[in-house]
């Protein structure tokens, strides 16, 4: 009985050219990848596949370790190039047709062997294709995780309002991870800019519960230890009532309804006075609180 790995080994050259021809017609994305690169990947994969198939027909076996590693590399590089996981899987699956053709020719007089070998090789390629999908998804998850972390960094906008006055306008849901990052960046900004006053504005925070309050209180206490005063602004009426009912104690914290009020308080604390150039000009403060 002839098994598929012998057929593949014997017809490696023909299978490779039929496979490449097929891909150039169909699954290849010429916009993402050059011919040379595609041919080289195909040749290397087929070589590894043919060699591994000599000793095993299990995709998960030791024999296919190198094949799997190579597929992982391909999954990664293709994802970087912009291929979808499906497209990468199709690269592996498209090897079926030339192998099946070669089997058909080699096992002409023996339909039952042909069915067996088609099934065995097909099954193997299916599993290898699934493996590339898993790898691609895994890489994609890693990228998403990294981007999330980058977003955390991005969404910590500590702004300097005046020499010695920082503001931290918080926007959105304060889950634990993000709050931690935001608060730490405020504390380090206080040190870096040698500020005496920091204003935390929570206008854009939809819910203030005990966890958020605890983070705020900890940050304010830490800032105080570093010699800076924290003001809290943007507490909307509904949130103020909720805080009171929850029993959160903010009596030690300087609070103002609006960021602009807190800024004015900061300036006066620092001995600065804002005066209009002309009595008629209404624009006293440059900072506006957004209310939503």
């Amino acid at each position: 009985m002839i098994s598929f790995h012998e057929v593949v080994k014997k017809n490696e050259g023909a299978i490779l050219s039929a496979w490449i021809e097929e891909m150039v017609k169909g699954v290849r994305r010429a916009d993402l990848m050059t011919d040379t690169e595609l041919k080289q990947q195909a040749r290397e994969l087929l070589g590894l596949f043919a060699k591994a198939a000599e000793s095993s027909s299990e995709a998960e076996s030791e024999a296919f370790l190198q094949t799997r590693e190579f597929l992982r590399e391909i999954a990664k590089s293709r994802m970087d190039q912009g291929f979808t996981p499906t497209e990468t899987a199709r690269f592996v699956l498209s090897l079926k047709q030339p192998i099946f053709h070669a089997l058909r020719d080699a096992l002409k007089g023996n339909p039952s062997d042909l069915v067996n070998e088609v099934w065995a090789s097909g099954n193997l390629l299916d599993r290898l294709a699934l493996f590339t999908v898993d790898s691609a998804v895994e890489f994609r998850d890693q990228v998403i995780g990294r981007q999330q972390e980058e977003m955390l960094e991005l969404s910590t906008p500590v702004v300097k309002l005046w020499d010695g006055v920082l503001a931290l306008p918080l926007i959105g849901t304060l889950d634990s991870a993000r709050t931690q990052v935001v608060m730490e960046s405020l504390l380090s900004a206080i040190v870096e800019t040698n500020s005496q006053i920091a204003i935390i504005d929570i206008t854009g925070v939809p819910t203030v519960d005990t966890l958020v309050a605890q983070h705020l209180i900890k940050t304010i206490t830490a800032a105080r230890l570093m010699g800076a005063d924290c003001f809290l602004s943007g507490i909307r009426p509904a949130i103020a009532q909720t805080i009171v009912h929850l029993g959160i104690d903010l009596v030690d914290v300087q609070t103002k309804a609006k960021l602009s009020d807190a800024f004015a308080m900061a300036l006066s604390r620092m001995g600065k006075v804002v005066v209009a150039r002309k009595p008629a000009a209404g624009m006293a403060l440059g900072s506006k609180a957004k209310d939503n």
């Binding site: 819910t207 203030v208 519960d209 966890l211 509904a238 909720t242 009912h245 929850l246």
Partner: protein
Amino acid sequence: MASRSEVHPIAGAADVVKVRQVARSWALELKLSLVDQTKLVTAASELARNTLDHGHGGTMRVEQVENGLRRGIKLTFEDKGPGIPDIAMALRDGYTTSGGLGLGLSGSRRLVNEFDIKSEVGRGTIVAITRWK
């Protein structure tokens, strides 16, 4: 009588956010005042986090309830976690076993109209709250 209800899983931090959104949208639909919405959402946030952190995850059921002419929203948090040995103690302001503020349970009781807690050590905890319009 409940007219309609939904159950949401609480298995991770993202589910706490989801629970708040669900509570808010049901509160909006019933046209609760902004203050009442905020109170209900904040209580939901506290109880969902307790379900997650202390109860090792569970579910929240949300339903619209009626009592004569009054309508309200009832939220039921259920977990199969370790349970609470001393409920009276857990309901005290400042009592915490986890380094929190210890205000989640006692505070959320003050934020709603009805508060009902059942807990059995080793079996789990059920907290039901209702905010009437």
